[in-house]
Symmetry: C3
Subunit: 314 residues, 3 copies
């Protein structure tokens, strides 16, 4: 593996999950692997979980960590070829990626979508440009269309908590006051397609995800029908893909509560966090034993550590 910017980069998920489980059982076992190596974490957007868990993962491997919050420092990059750079951008991605490669053994980047320019977002301009020009492996800390580290933690969590060989997993849209990216659900869908699960997506009409990603997955617009017999409910809000970046529905009936969870097979509740209580999910569910959100967040460390391990031993 030479990069991890998409769930598509995983060649053998089983092996990957075995590695993550092994790491979780003894996180410091491989502390010499990253000795004298450095990971650069570049944030074009804020981050809490991703930053701390990736930093922790790197430390567990004995790596040094250099964190740059580029969002607050107004580092404007040019991505176009042949541009006359007499505007706001002071540096071209060609130099930026090559320069950071001089100081880091792995570059990890967070760069959110515009949610306005679909074409630009789908091109994953920032991350794919780093992949193109960097001379070291690149990790996505959430890009414009994917959040592959989250999806790996989610897969690990489902592996750990499933009580049958082929559990039913439901990805359910839930309301939210702000327009959010599709990166988490996109990566989750891709991940579920790689797992031995009975997977179904439920959302109000108008919230269809990119059809090339959901191809082959059952989409059910009736949330109650979707939840029947589910073993895992994965809640997430996202903005419209067709009416790009728009909020087309905020129906509070979709907030996940006792009423919905009672339809399931005593399902576990998952969410990538941060989660808006009583908007995405009720207190009752989030504070119940059904909720896996904290162990799921904990798994962020081990999934990141598995990715870094793979990249350092490729």
């Amino acid at each position: 593996m030479k990069k991890y910017t998409s769930v598509d980069d995983i060649q053998d998920l089983k092996e990957f999950l075995e590695l993550a489980k092994k790491i979780k059982a003894d996180p410091l076992a491989n502390k010499k692997l990253g000795k004298d190596k450095t990971i650069g974490l570049l944030f074009f957007n804020p981050s809490l979980r991703t930053r701390l868990s990736t930093q922790k993962a790197a430390q567990n491997l004995g790596m040094e960590c250099m964190v740059m919050n580029l969002n607050t420092e107004g580092w404007t990059l040019e991505f176009g070829d042949g541009e006359v750079m007499n505007g706001a951008a002071s540096e071209h991605i060609k130099e930026a990626a090559q320069v950071v490669s001089q100081y880091c053994d792995i570059i990890a980047i967070r760069s959110f979508p515009t949610l306005k320019d679909k074409e630009k977002d789908e091109a994953e301009t920032v991350i794919s440009s780093f992949v193109k020009y960097a001379s070291v492996p690149v990790i996505s800390l959430e890009g414009a269309t994917e959040h592959p580290l989250q999806a790996l933690a989610d897969a690990l969590t489902i592996e750990e908590y499933k009580t049958k060989e082929r559990p039913k997993v439901v990805l359910s849209w839930a309301p939210h006051p702000k327009a959010l990216p599709q990166s988490v659900p996109n990566s989750f869908v891709k991940m579920m397609k790689k797992m031995d699960v009975d997977f179904i997506i439920t959302h109000p009409k108008g919230y269809e995800l990119n059809p090339s990603i959901t191809e082959g997955v059952t989409i059910e617009h009736n949330q109650e029908t979707a939840f029947q017999g589910a073993d895992f409910i994965y809640a997430k809000n996202w903005s419209s893909y067709n009416d790009y970046g728009q909020i087309t529905n905020q129906d509070p009936q979709w907030t996940i509560g006792k009423k919905q969870m009672e339809l399931t097979n005593n399902a576990k509740f998952m969410h990538c966090l941060p989660v808006r209580r009583n908007v995405i999910v009720t207190d009752e569910i989030l504070d119940s034993e059904a909720s896996l959100v904290i162990p799921e967040a904990n798994n962020r460390t081990f999934s990141a550590q598995a990715v870094i391990t793979k990249l350092l031993t490729q």
Copy 2:
């Protein structure tokens, strides 16, 4: 000790100060104690001394340090129970505290008061919520009503520089152009009440601190009377507690200078820093041999290191 968010958390001050002195004599003696452990420093407000000294303390113990400046990253938390989170807050403290606990062995937090909402400030909403929901020990890097790490450094400094068994210590209000918190004087008062000192507070009428904190302490509104025979002058500005958060007096007569210091028993001058020269204290005093502000700042490292040591060996 399971947390250090108030001077009240100190059970045996003598033992604590002995530990701090031992650490200062050989700061790296215990470098294996924090091996493979991580402290998370979360700042909702700016910090220089506290951040660098706590980071240094952690490093002296061999810990990894993860710093988050949450103030510049607009991480808005919800603290209320049962709230429908459809406003600005994107994460509830319940999740935030539990999640950070997954990645850190100790969580240290700075969160200043509003100086507008007395009830909210006195509830120490941010820090007490972290204490409530985190699964690891919590340290205050200055809260709404206390700055216990500063007070411990102050106690250590007085211990080191006192020339008699029971020195006279005067906490003196001094003018300042901005409304400042009462956290430093509050913790200092609590600390002095635990020490074998002759302690007195002096301030203009209207600057009474929280009476439940100053209970039993002599308050003298005449600065000259208070300074008579003092061994330590601890200067600090604070805003009014009764007329909450207001500046009710900026009397330049209270600026500490030669005139006042001459009334003392060749007293040492202390201040937590940052200090406004020629407003809080004159250049003449601050640049004189009487000033302890730099060794006092140096003691921040060892007091933080004592606290972390206690929390890691509890």
Copy 3:
């Protein structure tokens, strides 16, 4: 060597470059030198290369690194003597420098010029005040009038790539949409005067640098004449020194392209980065084998490491 805030601080450049080359050949050879020591990186202005390369250099020496972005945290310092500090500044440099010296073994600072107040900029108020009051060595991460770490990396790069004993080096002004400091060209000029090179500066009239720095150096206002037979072209924009901080000319004829490079002796192209493509230099040159900008950026690590090594072994 007790500080490195100017190229003037270098006493024996040959020895320095030998050290840097030795470090580059085996960057981790001296990993115990910085054990249990801390470098504080204080940024009053944004930084990418300088921050990452200095951090990397410190890590290569086994040092701990504490980074403070003072620019985003609004840390306003007072520098004047005897000031009554009732304005914006909350701390005097006297305390700030002494306090940071308590926690760090080396202090490194970035502080850009105002480009408005020539006298203040030439006084290097921030960095020279840290030098005056700090009790530990100070490194400039780019000040108001010099960027000595960059110049050292440039010298190392010329040493590595020169193919004759006394190469011809041309510093060429190039256009830029914003008014930029003179610190990079100032330090480069000072460095070239220390090296065995045939050095010439070319710029449009009105862009004369500080004459006390360029004293004795040939200045040629015709770029084509200057480039004849050159072995190294060092491109850089700067604002006017005489008409202080102003852009007096943006002549696109000065953009360095094939036309100019063909006049040279197959010269190498250098720039400190970030570089604006097709404004400072054409894509054609920057993407050609003549360009040294990436190895030059890489040398930032080794020049910083040489400086830190010198300061720790003084």
